[in-house]
Symmetry: C2
Subunit: 385 residues, 2 copies
Amino acid sequence: MSQYLPGLEGVPATRSNISDLDGKRGILTYRGYRIADLARYSTFEETAMLLLDGKLPSREELAEFDRQLRENRRVKYNLREIMKYLPATGHPMQMLQASIAALSMFYPGDECLTGSDLCEDLEYVHTMSVKILARMATLVAMWEHIRNGYDPVEPRKDLGYAENLLYMFNGEDPDPLYARILDACLILHAEHTINASTFAALVAGSTLTNPFLVIAAAIGTLAGPLHGGANQKVVQMLREIGSPDRAEAWLEEQLRHKRKIWGFGHREYKVKDPRAIILQDMMMDLMKERGGEVTPLFEIAVALEKAAESRLGPKGVYPNVDFYSGLLYLQMGIPEDQFTSIFAVARCAGWLAHWREQLKDNRIFRPTQVYTGEAERDYVPIDQR
Amino acid sequence: MSQYLPGLEGVPATRSNISDLDGKRGILTYRGYRIADLARYSTFEETAMLLLDGKLPSREELAEFDRQLRENRRVKYNLREIMKYLPATGHPMQMLQASIAALSMFYPGDECLTGSDLCEDLEYVHTMSVKILARMATLVAMWEHIRNGYDPVEPRKDLGYAENLLYMFNGEDPDPLYARILDACLILHAEHTINASTFAALVAGSTLTNPFLVIAAAIGTLAGPLHGGANQKVVQMLREIGSPDRAEAWLEEQLRHKRKIWGFGHREYKVKDPRAIILQDMMMDLMKERGGEVTPLFEIAVALEKAAESRLGPKGVYPNVDFYSGLLYLQMGIPEDQFTSIFAVARCAGWLAHWREQLKDNRIFRPTQVYTGEAERDYVPIDQR
């Protein structure tokens, strides 16, 4: 028997050709392509295709996939009515898990539940992937309106994925700069090797369950504060600091008390998170171009980053992707408790790619345990206990 | 780096003192107590407590736990209204995943999502466990009525867990013999070491996500045909055989074509599944006592079992727990596509016990991958592809 390693750290759980991470050099690739290039030259739609199909699409292939996504944005009114019965105080990730599971019932897909070969049918896998990926954004944006007592904004077919997501949130023609930044954020969050939520998708998928149920399992996992919730914490932290001139003293205080600095450091990267570098550039561009419009939290972030550079940089601790993404989302009009939902929308592309890969060479996950409990013993009747 | 083993077969993923399985001797124990003893002397309520707390309760402790379960059976009318907007054609396991995730929004529990220490607080863990376990049965029974166009049957406080579940399904005072059999079935399905759904619960739970979301991840995983759906297949198979005198010829035909015989064999047991032995006894008792009332499928099952004894027994292949449980559920008025839901109701006790154990010594699951993909390469503009 293999050695027990908590959290399966260092234990290979799958063979995968989707993404790769070189933590020493700070390089993350999707299907071999560097994340920095994808953020600069690609779109979320194209990157999703790359993740799902394994190659960059031709112009025609991309146009067809994009058309399918646009056609699949609407969700039935049943979902709107269901959301009206959910308490507005609930977390959007709870809503999202419930809604994706509920959506599963509206689309042919329970074939998977009955054990046919459909799960290995590529067309079925593609169709279901489009149905899920297109509707994730709609559900997230719908909830924003419904929980505030308003009817949701219907999706538009004339907008790209990120543009339409922004439009559904704000009900206004999307700001092109914000849409471009959101598109890059979606690309940067779309995939990151085998993390906990992706692993949950593999485990669920390995029983050949319905893909909506697979994604719901992953959403429930991403919702945990140890996984998807850090960018929300960053914004809270910047608020707590209050003004740029307090950043350095605040940082010293935190370090002295050995308290966590949210948005700094990453288990996998020994150098600066490549996704953070891209987002930092975008934040600086945004500040230059829209000076007066941006939230004062940006100035605090810049001050904190500067203070941290000399104090934490030498230890290899740099701002990570969470440090910038929350700030950027806030600026676009996306509320803090929806940051993880946007993460889920993006990561859904990676989850679906891993689901597809799992089905191709499937074996149900059934690890063992190190039993540390009682040896076999006799039952004790209740009056003798 | 460790060796890659597909499905993590033979790889220990956790330390656990909840259940243990000796496949060679055919012994399954919960906290050291043999499953045969628990099915005979215990109740589902007591067994759930044993799994959750690690010891058989005193009379007072059991009465208090039972009282809490009875108090927590009702679900808010919102869930009834939500179910009305779900399509009746959807699978009950899809409904169950959606409903448990939706329920999370109604109960204080999102504390877990915000990263407080509540997740490690024993009282919080206990309270949430009761809230979830008590309501699982209610949701499953509610759906049976709502999908058929009727208002659900409200739970009763004067009945035990299994009795009340039967009552909510049929709307009549529960048959005591059926209730006793269902109670035993719940005990037998409550826990079975680290299977795929329990593992999904561990992975989700390790991010400190809300426990309703943990259970929803497990439900989505159990729904897969490779995991929870086999007893439904057994009933379909017995229908296909059609009459007892055709059982032997049908079996020969299946074996000749190397087709799967549903409800036979188990990856872990080299001898007869101990749970199957108990259910077989119950089936025989039921047939003796209620001769004329039982479904003709029972006679077909007995004939198939007999034919299989000489053909498969020498190879160590015996009927498993699925072979009998579906038949027994059918006899109690539970429709075939709800068998897996009943399994989920029972296994929820085990999932919650493992969730609690995971929190006590938590480390987020983040295994590695064997990367088999493309090496780093340059992005290719769309008109050069």
